[in-house]
């Protein structure tokens, strides 16, 4: 038995290089409780194999399906069709901003990934990331969080919270004005790497990068990145913290410490 099916209307921004962009409307039947990514899958499977969109895990772990849904950056795989349809009819789906569009909803993440590489962020760490990663509040009566790694069991490792989806880059007003900016994800990556690494040389190199031309001083402190991060990485908070670390080092030098 499958769930009751409902009709859903979407308008998708179609684009091909040299052809410009246009909105195209689609109607598909999807099961109740379905996510926007499932609706795109249904369009692709039943109506149009030429629809280009990125997708892999379908459960908000890979970061591939970040896009703008009704003008707001979200992961399509965990955005309810019913919720999106209530916001806007038809549901409007567009590619991320501030990254070159390859076709339809697919953006070129090469530059974004190069910045992540520069941040030295590796995706597995021997310690638990400190921030809660569940975006939606859990039932208050239980206050369940992620399972806590017992202190004496330091062999457990974890993937980092950042899924490199590009949402923070798309919402960032500084990024829009300035493509030399490292951007929120990479700066958060630098902060996280410095937090986790024991290597003083790497740490100093990363702080210099954060203090450099494309670094933290270009951020206009809009905090849009933190507000829209699906993984609660808090890039803006980390950028502010990096500024503090840079200033502390300068003052330390000034006073000969």
């Amino acid at each position: 038995m499958t769930a009751e099916s409902v009709a859903v209307d979407l308008e998708v921004l179609r684009y091909r290089p040299g052809e410009g962009s246009r909105l195209e409307n689609f109607s598909v039947q999807v099961a109740k409780g379905t996510k926007v990514l499932d609706a795109l899958d249904a369009i692709w499977a039943t109506l149009d194999h030429s629809l280009m969109f990125r997708r892999a895990c379908h459960h908000s772990s890979c970061g591939a399906c970040a896009m703008r849904i009704n003008g707001r950056e979200r992961l399509a795989c965990v955005t309810q069709v019913a919720e999106a349809a209530e916001e806007h009819q038809p549901i409007r789906v567009e590619p991320l901003h501030n990254l070159p569009v390859v076709g339809d909803l697919v953006v070129d993440v090469a530059g974004f990934f190069a910045r992540m590489t520069a941040s030295d962020l590796v995706i597995t760490r021997s310690a638990e990331p400190e921030l809660p990663v569940s975006v939606d509040p859990l039932p208050a009566s239980l206050s369940l969080r992620q399972v806590v790694v017992p202190e004496d069991l330091d062999r457990f490792i974890r993937f980092e919270s950042c899924i490199e989806c590009g949402i923070c880059v798309s919402v960032c007003p500084s990024m829009a004005a300035d493509d030399g900016f490292l951007g929120p994800a990479a700066l958060a990556g630098i902060h996280r790497t410095r937090e986790a690494t024991g290597d003083a040389t790497e740490s100093a190199h990363l702080l210099a990068l954060a203090d450099g031309d494309g670094g933290v001083w270009r951020c206009h402190s809009s905090f849009e990145c933190t507000a829209s991060c699906p993984q609660a990485v808090d890039p803006a908070g980390r950028i502010m913290s990096l500024r503090g670390q840079i200033l502390a080092r300068r003052w330390g030098r000034m006073w000969g410490r």
Binding site: A31, H49, R55, S61, V109, T117, L144, V147, R155
Partner: protein, 385 residues
Amino acid sequence: MSAPHVVVIGAGSTGSATAHDLALRGLRVTVVERGEVASGTSGRNHCLLHSGGRYCVTDQDSARECIAEARILDRIMPDILERNGGLFVALNESDLAFKDRFMEGCEACGISAREIPIQTALKMEPFLNPAALAAVEVPDGVFEPFHFCLAFLATAKANGAVVRTYTEVMELVTEGRTVTGVGVRDHRSGVSSTIGADMVVNAAGPWAGKIAAMAALAVPITPTPGVMVTMDSRLNNMVLNRLNRPSDGDIIVPQRATSIIGTTSWVVEDPDLIPIPVEHVAQMLASGRELVPAVGQVRVRATVAVARPLVTRAQADSRDVSRTFECFDHSADGLEGLVTISGGKTTSSRAMAQRAADVVCAKLAITAPCTTQTTPLASYRSFYQ
């Protein structure tokens, strides 16, 4: 004379690993994939890096393959694995009665397994059912499926392979009884063209039958979906398995900020769009609660169904089909130039690639040996450069 050219169909885990293997052996390789990398079965898998424990009683060939491959992957892609181990947990008398066979099976397959006191298990896993009767630790792990494929392809590209995503195979081009290339439609440009090949590898997973059918061939691959329910919180550090024969809803794999309960098994005709049976979701939640009662108190983040490409030699219950893989050289069907590699699991995709590349190289008189066991992979991030 330039090296022979091989076209690999599919950029899932099998196709990605095959492209990497062939590129390392010096062949010219083009991968064609109709969507994004890992947009089919590979992206949506359970993320379980098998120790082999799951199959050590019922399917020992598969279990041996798993432990060998898990060790290799630990060497070549350490950055995209969480090697936190797994627990097989007994919750009732039937599970307890299975324990001795499980320990023997692990021993026979070379999987290190040790029973640990329940109190220790509960300390490592605070949300584990406190009524558990026994716990056995094995070297299970977790991988990042999208990055898994990207890392193989990034390395293949560094060795000269060309990867064409959003490029769909529309036909197999044949001359007489030999496949000489593929007809593709590039969805980026809308242009259809032919890519010539000395050999074509069909690594389309559960869609392999559709590709083979383009040459009027049948391959015994059955698209066999499973349902996975992803919870909105991470409830376990290690992989938690029910200590018994593999069955529905007997495993919870933690991944990033989630715990994924799986899985079920049924057969479909068309793997493109799989309706999720609601009773399967309810069943996953019910059996998930048995292992980890807190499952009942956390919201569901996503439900996913995706088809495994099982190789079926005879009619059997899909749970009883071996999870190992097979390589079909279609010259046995009277058609040269085409090899299909299917079955298996993501954990075994490197070994699958080795088998496929061995067959391809033998046919093309290439003598370079496989070196993927010892070649560290490039960063997944470099794929898009």
